[in-house]
């Protein structure tokens, strides 16, 4: 069968969409995918740092969501619920990853020599209006992807997904102080990675 249409306006609000999902309507499922999959994929990409594994997390998330939609009680937004499923799926995969240099649970409790800032330059080409264009976003996403699993997982959960430091520590089964240090290290490394981009005239940002 082909030629079915996805009408994102068919459901007046999220409650109607959820009701339709719980009734097993295929249209509702297609709407949910169209509406929420891009951001879920972005979360998965950031957590995994690998497109193939991110895609697997994406598919697992929506298969699980469709299977368990009857359990969704509307206490959080659907988007939040989906992000939680995606985050859990990504965390399970990160724990299982083989050939890791450092275990996810291996505490990193202090800054080391690698964290000392080396590039001390003003960001002359930082966008004056602070808006992220697609190129800047790509640079950021690539920089995040280069972080080691131990730093990236804390960083994405805390900084982008908005979990508190205590929640992140619990999710990763590490201490709060270890989570804080990992966040700090991740921020410093990203600053270092982004500095060439914002100090060179080829950068697309406007001059302040």
């Amino acid at each position: 069968m082909t030629g079915l249409q996805i009408d994102l306006n068919i459901y007046p609000d999220e409650a109607a969409l959820v009701q339709a999902l719980q009734n097993g309507e295929h249209d509702a499922c297609a709407c949910m995918l169209k509406q929420f999959a891009p951001r879920v994929y972005a979360v998965a990409m950031r957590m995994m740092g690998d497109p193939d594994e991110a895609e697997e997390v994406l598919q697992e998330t929506f298969i699980s969501a469709c299977k368990n939609i009857h359990r969704f009680e509307g206490r959080s937004a659907l988007n939040t619920w989906l992000h939680r499923i995606a985050t859990n799926a990504a965390l399970m995969r990160l724990r299982k990853r083989k050939n890791k240099e450092v275990s996810l649970d291996n505490p990193i409790e202090s800054l080391d020599g690698d964290d000392i800032p080396r590039q001390i330059e003003d960001w002359d080409y930082y966008p004056a209006d602070l808006a992220l264009n697609s190129e800047t976003r790509d640079v950021l996403e690539q920089a995040i992807a280069t972080l080691p699993d131990t730093l990236r997982s804390v960083f994405v959960l805390r900084e982008i997904e908005g979990y508190s430091t205590a929640e992140v520590a619990e999710m990763l089964d590490i201490s709060v102080s270890a989570a804080k240090v990992r966040l700090h290290r991740a921020r410093l490394r990203l600053r270092e990675l982004l500095t060439p981009y914002f100090t060179e005239p080829t950068a697309p940002g406007e001059m302040p």
């Binding site: 000392i116 982004l194 500095t195």
Partner: protein, 97 residues
């Protein structure tokens, strides 16, 4: 601007560096804030690190302000995994792998 020489942080700079995260998050004690700000007043390198760290955090926290896009083939395989590919107007020629 021309590049400054590589930063060789002294003891105070290292101390500031270790406290910078809490400072950025507004979680540093008032007493330590005073000490840190006194150091920043006379250390241009640490000022730059702080400023660019602030900018890093700002950018990352606004990463999701712009719409994300799902690659077409990824979208197709997702819809196919749920037997919903009929909802997509165009199907790419090759599947995954």
């Amino acid at each position: 601007m021309s590049a400054k020489p590589e930063h060789s942080p002294d003891h105070d700079c290292r101390q500031v560096l270790s406290e910078l995260n809490d400072y950025v998050d507004g979680e540093l004690s008032a007493e330590l804030c005073v000490e840190l700000e006194a150091h920043l007043d006379q250390c241009e390198n640490c000022q730059i690190v702080l400023d660019t760290l602030h900018k890093t955090v700002y950018l990352v926290q606004h990463l999701d302000d712009t719409p994300q896009k799902l690659p077409g083939d990824v979208e197709y395989r997702l819809f196919a995994a749920l037997d919903l590919e009929a909802f997509l107007p165009e199907q790419p020629g090759d599947g995954k792998g």
